[in-house]
């Protein structure tokens, strides 16, 4: 489903609803409400994906990485849930004291697809994480989401995160979204 293509741009009203949904999701994660995030935002049939991209010459004709290739994230629902559950064990020493993370979301563009309840959303994102005394890391990239409209809410069905850096300048990328 990652390859479902966008069709028309959404209306102003729909754009407002989708962008507010994105901000609400980010706020939830920033507040460490991972369980609520999983329940309210994540669809049962999610695939959360962060491929590994190499620096290759322009003439290199090898295809872009697909969902079966090496990926930093390639999680179904049960796997996302495991990551969430780990955060509630009380023994994640790195998160005690807790770190602070901000999601800076920009360049949101939302489109219809050929399925009435599915929306394709492109976002630029910066994740800025502060830990301990002076530890600050920053990850910049883009997100391609597929949202399903259920009633007046949205659920996250597909998310592909592509980070711009080849080398991750951080201890890990264990954060959500």
């Amino acid at each position: 489903m990652h390859d479902i293509q966008p069709t028309d741009r959404v209306s102003l009203e729909e754009h407002y609803a989708i962008s507010q949904h994105a901000y609400a999701e980010a706020r939830m994660l920033q507040n460490h409400q991972y369980k609520e995030w999983l329940e309210e935002i994540v669809a049962d049939d999610i695939h959360l994906w962060m491929p590994v991209t190499e620096r290759r010459y322009r003439k290199d004709k090898r295809p872009e990485p697909g969902p079966d290739d090496m990926a930093i994230y390639s999680d179904d629902y049960s796997e996302v849930k495991q990551r969430v559950d780990r955060m509630y064990t009380g023994t994640v020493w790195m998160e005690d004291p807790a770190s602070d993370i901000k999601y800076l979301l920009t360049n949101i563009e939302a489109f219809h697809t050929d399925q009435a309840d599915l929306f394709k959303v492109y976002t630029n994102v910066a994740y800025i994480r502060h830990r301990q005394q002076d530890e600050r890391t920053e990850h910049v990239g883009s997100r391609i989401d597929l949202l399903r409209k259920v009633g007046d809410k949205f659920q996250l069905v597909r998310r592909k995160i592509t980070l711009d850096a080849r080398v991750t300048v951080d201890k890990n990328l264990y954060f959500f979204g």
Partner: protein, 454 residues
């Protein structure tokens, strides 16, 4: 020159805390360890066709590894022989030649200089191209794993691995068609000394129950019982630790190969099918280890977990930083679906966002940064656990420790570290071949233990 007997006390199993952050120690390591040991470069499967290349580093030296026309694998320093610019700027690819971006010198995939712009008009034909090839690095393979070495006097890769090769063969020869690596590697930086993760992988099953308590609790599996170190366990029957002549070593937890993998049907089935084959090819002692979970380091800085199957290189970037490159090990004869699942599960636990990987980073960074303090760095660290509970074993080469939770392979790692840091040459190291294990004094440990067990 720093006297490494001050850095490592093999008798009391202590190390100076300054080994993690001291610039002079690091400079000596670059010359005496990274300049003389075999360092992992690539797996042959990444260089199948003529012209295939990958770029990597040997310590801080950038290196290009290629498959040349004659089928050989070559490695050379990625630095132009004209004015020193980087010659290859991609991670991997296929190319007949490498053209330097600065003035356009062209190098073949064997590193030789093949073309120089304005050769006739401005060099006046007066340049001997054969003298300006890229500096070549010794290359040898072990079971498809390609290593490079800067030192012509170093032993062959086979001899460098020594008894460690005997153990590697358990899965590289014993099971199916051998192993290969899946990339491209994940890359991340960690502000720690390279030895912290290297020692952790060589012999630290001790930290698993505590550092990784959260992940073990959530993932379940055989190792979940380690979480929090509260369960009563007969540790001395659950596994071994081993160290060898050149510091390579490992710990193994019996019958726990895929324990970190949540989805593992294909992997478990493969392992069960292979046990009798390993026994047939290599004998029972290695078959008994085959379905264990192994934590390993090939000295100095190439580590992997067999069973979890993550494969890591700790590339030093100064005394206080490394770049971590993570690949996944798979058996060539696994079916595609099993390979994919193994890759996914390995990355889920020990990739850049891994559930266990994320537990380790703080420990490694803090063990490095804390000891920069003028007073802290004067103190020493210990690796004394189960000292004396180790010795030569009738079935297993090297020095074997009684439990997978122990520090035998730490001691062996730092024993060789001390030796090579002080040795003037490989010749001086060879001269000690018969006495390298003198520090493990309890020669009858296994004789007595095995008699007692009966």
């Amino acid at each position: 020159m720093i006297d490494s007997t001050e850095l490592v006390d093999t008798k009391n199993s202590t190390q100076a805390k300054k080994i993690f952050g001291d610039q002079d120690v690091y400079e000596q390591e670059l010359e005496r360890i990274f300049g003389r040991c075999w360092l992992f470069l690539a797996h042959e499967c990444m260089l199948e066709k003529t012209g295939d290349f990958i770029t990597t580093t040997m310590a801080e030296d950038p290196v290009v590894v290629t498959r040349a026309k004659d089928g050989s694998i070559n490695a050379f320093i990625n630095s132009c022989s004209h004015r020193g610019n980087r010659v290859c700027t991609a991670d991997s690819g296929n190319s007949k030649s490498f053209v330097c971006n600065y003035h356009g010198w062209v190098f073949g995939s064997d590193g030789s200089l093949v073309d120089v712009p304005l050769e006739e008009t401005c060099y006046h034909g007066d340049i001997d191209k054969s003298k300006f090839g890229l500096p070549k690095i010794r290359v040898e393979s072990y079971r498809g794993f390609v290593f490079g070495c800067f030192d012509d006097d170093a032993p062959s890769l086979n001899d460098y691995l020594g008894d460690w090769g005997w153990y590697l063969d358990t899965f590289m020869v014993g099971a199916g068609e051998g192993m290969e690596l899946v990339g491209p590697p994940m890359k991340s930086t960690l502000k720690c000394n390279w030895k912290v993760p290297a020692e952790n992988f060589v012999g630290d099953a001790y930290h698993v129950g505590w550092t990784h308590a959260a992940a073990l609790e959530v993932l379940g599996g055989e190792l979940a019982m380690l979480a929090g170190n509260t369960a009563e366990m007969p540790y001395d029957q659950l596994g071994l630790q081993v160290t060898t002549r050149h510091g390579h070593g490992f710990g193994v937890i019996r019958q726990a190969a895929a324990s970190i993998h949540v989805k593992r049907e294909g992997f478990d089935k493969f392992n069960q099918e292979m046990i009798p084959k390993v026994a047939e090819k290599l004998g029972q002692p290695r078959a008994d280890l085959f379905d264990g979970h192994w934590n390993c380091t090939t000295f100095p800085s190439c580590s992997f977990l067999y069973g979890t199957n993550i494969f890591k290189v700790w590339h030093p970037r100064g005394p206080n930083e490394i770049e971590v490159w993570s690949y996944v090990l798979v058996h060539k004869s696994m079916d595609d679906a099993t390979k994919k699942e193994v890759v996914k599960q390995a990355v889920r636990s020990f990739g850049t966002a891994g559930t266990l990987e994320s537990d380790d980073g703080d420990n490694m960074v803090n063990a490095t940064s804390i000891n920069k303090g003028a007073q802290a760095r004067k103190n020493r660290m210990s690796s004394t656990m189960a000292q004396g509970h180790e010795g030569p074993h009738p079935d297993y080469p090297g020095i074997v420790g009684s439990s997978f939770v122990g520090e035998t392979s730490y001691r062996g790692f730092y024993r060789f570290y001390q030796e090579i840091m002080n040795a003037d040459s490989w010749q001086a190291i060879h001269e000690k071949d018969d006495e390298w294990d003198d520090m493990f004094e309890n020669k009858d440990f296994w004789k007595n233990k095995l008699a007692g067990d009966k």
